[in-house]
């Protein structure tokens, strides 16, 4: 059961992600990003992080993606034009990927592939809203409050950035 879910969700996640990056229509990109986020939320559930899955759907797939779509509509962006091919950039990006493909397996080798297998209901960490809430309001309380300030600053920043000069 666990295997089936994992492989299906993983396949969906990767396909959606590739679509986000590969397609040139911004609206398609955005919709595929939504599907990527939802697949990820589902993967969170397989990891028994239920609260995070909910947050992922509500905040990410909901609020943030609405923002993206809103901007797409506002700016009325057309299908992206292909730019000139810049060889240094291609070489650089190629190098990045070569390095990444060499480095990442090495990084993974530090973790136990053949470690404990995934079995639902055996998680030592319950990921319910209650458990996370406890942590957020006790050990991570100050950080949580700081996040509030961060969001406030972001809000003010957005307002300042988007205000037209004539309104000043």
């Amino acid at each position: 059961m666990e295997q089936i879910f994992f492989w299906v969700l993983a396949a969906g996640l990767l396909i959606s992600a590739v679509t986000v990056v590969a397609v040139r229509n911004p609206v398609t990109n955005a919709v595929c990003l939504v599907s990527t986020l939802v697949f990820e939320a589902a993967l969170f559930i397989t990891l028994e992080a239920t609260f995070l899955a909910a947050v992922q759907v509500i905040v990410y797939a909901g609020a943030v993606m609405v923002l993206f779509l809103f901007v797409i509509m506002l700016l009325d962006v057309r299908v992206e034009l292909l730019g000139k091919i810049s060889w240094p950039k291609i070489v650089g990006v190629g190098l990045v990927f070569v390095l990444a493909l060499v480095a990442l397996p090495k990084l993974f080798s530090a973790f136990p592939f053949a470690g404990e297998a995934l079995h639902w209901g055996h998680a030592k960490v319950p990921g319910t809203a209650q458990d996370l809430g406890h942590l957020l309001f006790s050990a991570y309380g100050p950080l949580f409050l700081t996040t509030g300030v961060l969001l406030l600053v972001a809000t003010v920043g957005v307002v300042v950035l988007c205000r037209r000069d004539t309104e000043a």
Partner: protein
């Protein structure tokens, strides 16, 4: 194929997602798509965090992911605001058109 699902599977999945996002960030011209790819990067990291937390039996990564989501929301809001502001001036969202900080 087959066999049990372990932490390694999730990490490889996360790595693959990260590489896809990286490609988007580095290669796409449209700043909108670049920002979407940035979200992919963040999600790859989130996935790795939650997986490690689940298999190692520690709750803190989940809290971290919670914060990452919050920060990502703020980032998206600000980034898009900047994008809108730039678009008003440049009338484009192409990354290679924004080179006024050149030497």
């Amino acid at each position: 194929m087959g066999g049990e699902i372990t932490l390694g599977h999730y990490l490889v999945l996360s790595g693959a997602l990260f590489l896809i996002g990286l490609a988007g960030v580095l290669l796409r011209r449209s700043l909108l798509v670049v920002m979407m790819s940035l979200e992919l990067l963040l999600n790859a990291a989130n996935l790795a965090l939650v997986a490690v937390g689940r298999f190692q039996g520690i709750p803190d990564p989940q809290v971290a992911v919670f914060f990452v989501i919050t920060v990502a929301a703020a980032e998206a809001a600000l980034g898009l605001a900047i994008l809108v502001a730039i678009f008003r001036i440049k009338k484009t969202t192409a990354a290679d058109q924004m080179a006024s900080l050149r030497f």
